[in-house]
Symmetry: C2
Subunit: 345 residues, 2 copies
């Protein structure tokens, strides 16, 4: 699973070099309608454009079929290359289109959002939503090159920056105390995230993915914050007050660090510090004890759980994940009580 | 790319052992409507059935979507296993469905036709037709187990047996003179193909695929007979008198052995012997010199060709393939003239 990840703010230069090294017969570039207008002109690509509607609701089979048909219509061969320019929706869908066209053509990811840069664009997961389930269809297929920059972040909404930052917090928690502390000293909506910090964050994910590309063990460390996070996200959706995925992850990191404290002695001082930071930047996700049974049931049906047992990734300390840890409904109740205390709910 | 290929006529026993070793949370079985009625009762499977319409014209996105939806509706998880029972259409489509569901669930192939047993079921190519092109969408994904038997061949039409036998001839030509001679002494429509011969044939493909799972070099040896074969198949389709794929391959093997003789000194005695055998079993595909330009153009657009050059796999001798050999329109004209002489056209 060879993947070249390039960190640079000279995106067009890096992209031309990457294409040169791949020596494609023909180049295609996929973007959503917004990115096509805003970003493509900056890249000076000699490529056949393929444009799809924006938004995660369009990360579906219909859009995938449009991309396949466009590749076919424009004469793509196995020697072609697809460049995916955009957020996670575009890199996930474009990656799947490339990986399944003629049993796989090469592709390059150019993430334009912080979330895509630190999460979706690297690591080889591609996919689309189907039948109401996220990433239900897809394959593991790495981009040959990922070009990571902060060049397109200037115009991102605060929501989007904070969503990406939650994944950076997670990567820092999988590294060491200092990395986490460093991130908590910054305001991601106030000042641009330095490219160097982005590089360190992405390298955490790269290291873990290289050990376990198909998520059979160590890669589950990257699920930190996501078991509780997904349950919060689903509850918000059920209340018809959806929250951004990254916000749910940030709150999930707090609850799972509490679970880690209860089960593995994760230091309480870091839990408090993290809770303060998350509350200040992401606000408070309000729950009452009436929500507990529904949240527990939702976690039980999470794809990370087996045979009705709830499985989380927990931390003995920053940098010391323990994957596939079974937690009981009582553990969760206690952690949610503590979360409500910390957030003054 | 670990793949267990099991040769046995006790299919139900082997299947139960394979499933036992995979320890699936739930088992699904995919078959076309005919196979579902004829074969599934013999397998005594405790599995959720998924049935699709029969025939290569249904190897399409619509049937693939039906399979995805059935897996989703019946609660398939990453721990599920899909058993594909049928010809190449079912193993190709079912393999793609499994390989793309939740980024890949495990699958078992139980080929019920000679062609699927010696070709489609082994080697990790999955796919569907799209936009009028064969296998336009798909991925490389090996079945965890392939159970190969002659148990279902008794009721196969002669066409189908001869189609599969052409691939066996090809595998023998990639092995040695004796293997080819042995096959040419049998009548595949008169007596059952011995399981031992099937095993030897499949093992030729396995050896080649293991060297090069993603078809970047040595695997192209398996294209022997197919450059000319595909062109004959397309011409037949254009004349609205379609021929079975395997028949086209048999005629293609004759023409490409002539090209091999012209370019690499492949022994003429074997060419004559092969031409006699193919003419007797498969009959004659009639062409005139008026067809030559169209055939050459079609070969030029074959996916094995690059930059307008026609590429074939040729043989210096049986067992000594040379892949990616450029042949000129003059070479092809000469070989087609010789083919017409040999077949008294």
């Amino acid at each position: 699973m060879e993947q070249h990840v390039i960190f640079t703010n000279k995106v067009d230069e890096a992209l031309h070099e990457a294409l040169h090294s791949l020596n494609p017969a023909k180049v295609f570039v996929l973007a959503d309608e917004h990115t096509a207008a805003l970003v493509l002109p900056q890249l000076h690509l000699n490529a056949a454009p393929i444009t799809i509607a924006a938004g995660d609701s369009h990360k579906d089979l219909s859009a995938l079929e449009d991309v396949w048909n466009a590749l076919q219509r424009e004469g793509a061969t196995r020697a072609s290359v697809l460049v995916n320019v955009g957020g996670g929706m575009v890199t996930d869908l474009g990656g799947m289109a490339a990986a399944t066209f003629k049993r796989g053509i090469r592709f390059i990811n150019v993430p334009t959002t912080l979330l895509a840069a630190v999460d979706a664009a690297v690591g080889g997961k591609t996919g689309i939503n189907h039948g109401g389930l996220k990433n239900e269809l897809g394959v593991f297929a790495p981009a040959s090159h990922v070009i990571i920059s902060t060049a397109f972040f200037g115009t991102l909404p605060h929501d989007e920056l904070l969503s990406g930052y939650a994944e950076m917090l997670k990567h820092a928690m999988l590294t060491d105390d200092d990395s986490l502390e460093q991130l908590m000293r910054l305001d991601p909506t106030g000042e641009p995230v330095p490219l160097e910090l982005l590089r360190r964050s992405v390298e955490v994910k790269q290291r873990i993915v290289e050990q376990d590309p198909h998520e059979q063990g160590p890669r589950k460390a990257l699920n930190l914050g996501h078991t509780v996070g997904h349950a919060f996200e689903s509850l918000a959706l059920r209340r018809r007050q959806p929250v951004p995925h990254g916000y749910a992850v940030a709150w999930g990191l707090v609850v799972e660090s509490l679970l880690s404290h209860l089960r593995l002695g994760f230091p309480s001082a870091i839990v408090y510090r993290l809770a303060d930071f998350v509350m200040e930047r992401y606000g408070t996700f309000v729950i009452t004890c009436d929500d507990y049974p529904w949240l527990v049931e939702t976690m039980r049906h999470d794809k990370k759980s087996h045979h009705g047992e709830i499985n989380c990734t927990l931390l003995a300390a920053c940098g010391h994940p323990r994957v596939d840890r079974a937690v009981t409904p009582d553990d969760i109740t206690t952690a949610l009580d503590l979360y409500r205390d910390l957030f003054h709910i």
